[in-house]
């Protein structure tokens, strides 16, 4: 298995632990990633609110590269994944838009390359049965809330690879690892995403509601596959606690970190020290010395 890799900006900064755990886990799974050379930002949350062509041109530039590599694109960030899927969809459907974008890029991009979210590749392509065979540690007794967020679920016709309202792919992965995924109603509610800086109150409220529900229903940790969700739930957690007089102390793992624990990888190979809410006490409690 080999993919054209589009890490996206977060994986080089605030989600460098996600990147570390992907590197370590994919090595174990023998999934090869070839980084798209000179990749640039997809425009994320800003391009599509300020211009009509920019949010298509930015992803198309790197999709064009991937098309030349002859590989499917793998994106670990839900926002990048979403923008790239929307771009390929729009450029395939709309010849006039395609012409405009190609004129700007001075290219002949056709929108054919397929973009995959990392979780889709791990769970559906590599498969849970194959993963089960490689496991050396059991997450028995660990109760987590799998949180999917918005951008790998909606708009469902273009981006979803599971049920868009109540997906279960991360839940099934956690069960494969021996852990327990709680049933909860906020799997695809929004965390406020990119408003973390410019409209923090909204993010604090939405993340409070998520953390509160997860804790009420017995979750000991949260599992995510999006850097924006992870940042808001983990790095804003103390502020949420202070503002709402709550106590959560819920670690927020990238799914690749827990998968890595199951595969027997060490904490430093998975960037676990880079999490804000300390995950080590919980892992110790579950007899997971890492």
């Amino acid at each position: 298995m080999k993919y054209a890799y589009y890490p996206g900006c977060s994986l080089h900064s605030t989600a460098s632990d996600y990147q570390q755990s992907i590197d370590s886990v994919f090595k174990k799974l023998s999934i090869e990633l070839e980084e798209i050379e000179g990749w640039t930002c997809c425009g994320a949350s800003a391009a599509h609110v300020t211009d009509d062509l920019l949010p298509l041109v930015l992803p198309a530039k790197d999709l064009l590269q991937a098309e030349k590599m002859g590989l499917e694109v793998l994106a670990p960030c839900a926002a990048c994944y979403n923008r790239m899927r929307l771009t390929t969809h729009k450029l395939r459907e709309n010849a006039e838009l395609r012409r405009k974008v190609n004129q700007i890029l001075r290219s002949d991009y056709e929108g054919k390359v397929k973009v995959r979210h990392i979780s889709d590749v791990v769970v559906n392509e590599y498969g849970l049965e194959a993963i089960a065979k490689l496991l050396v540690k059991d997450l028995k007794g660990l109760k987590v809330a799998c949180y999917y967020g918005c951008l790998s679920a909606r708009p469902q016709k273009i981006v979803a690879f599971d049920d868009p309202v109540y997906p279960s792919y991360l839940d099934r992965l956690i069960q494969t690892l021996g852990g327990e995924a709680i049933e909860w109603p906020f799997k695809t509610e929004c965390c406020g995403g990119s408003f973390s800086v410019s409209k923090k109150d909204v993010v604090l409220k939405l993340t409070h509601d998520l953390l509160d529900m997860a804790q009420d229903l017995g979750a000991e940790a949260i599992v995510v596959d999006c850097p924006l969700c992870q940042f808001n739930l983990d790095f804003r957690q103390e502020e949420v606690e202070k503002k709402y007089g709550a106590h959560f102390a819920l670690p927020v793992f990238y799914f690749t970190q827990l998968l890595g624990v199951g595969l027997g990888l060490r904490g430093e190979e998975l960037g676990l020290k880079k999490l804000n809410v300390d995950p080590f006490a919980l892992l110790e409690k579950k007899n997971l010395r890492i």
Partner: protein, 187 residues
């Protein structure tokens, strides 16, 4: 809010319909978008009423709303609309028009963040969080905003003081220049 049908025009509804590639008149105000909107609680006019204003051609009112900037693009509205109206795309179209007309004062911090985000990627090719936060804090006259968080991110190696230059940056900047030259011609 109470919306009366007296004051209306076809021009604006048509403009937004053209931008999103579908006829926005298909919306029959069921309110399903609003019911699912995670940020409706903070909006002065809920999403379905924004669509109504667009249908009635009330451009000035629509573009002056906090609502259009508060939309987090979670796409719940778009996914649930029984008439398949792309409500999130309509919000984008309204914001694009507001940006073009320089009408960004109603949510200064949100719009500043978007502008700086694009400036930073134009300069570096990728998001540089330290640059983005630094510029944002300076321009909002709040230099110490999130300083604890910043310190923690630095300590954890999640913020980098310098980033290696992106290969092909100049070509990328040329591409952005060509987009900006096209701006306003419509997509």
């Amino acid at each position: 809010m109470k919306i009366t049908l007296g004051d209306h025009s076809r021009v604006f509804g048509k403009k937004i319909s053209d931008m999103i590639g579908q006829n926005i008149d298909g919306c029959y105000q069921c309110g399903k978008c609003t019911a699912g909107c995670p940020i409706a609680y903070a909006m002065e006019v809920p999403p379905h009423e924004v669509i109504r204003l667009v249908q009635l051609g009330r451009e000035e009112e629509a573009l002056a709303l906090h609502t259009i900037w508060l939309c987090a693009s979670c796409e719940t509205c778009t996914s649930r609309c029984p008439k398949n109206i792309d409500v999130a795309a309509a919000m984008d179209a309204l914001r694009v028009l507001a940006f073009r007309q320089g009408q960004t004062g109603v949510e200064k911090e949100i719009t500043l963040f978007h502008k700086l985000f694009l400036k930073v990627i134009e300069r570096f090719g990728r998001v540089n969080d330290l640059q983005l936060m630094g510029r944002y804090n300076l321009l909002t006259l709040n230099p110490l905003k999130d300083w604890r968080l910043g310190r923690k991110l630095l300590a954890k190696g999640k913020l980098k003081l310098t980033t290696p230059p992106v290969k092909g940056l100049q070509e990328f900047q040329e591409i952005i220049k060509r987009v900006l030259a096209k701006r306003g011609e419509g997509a």
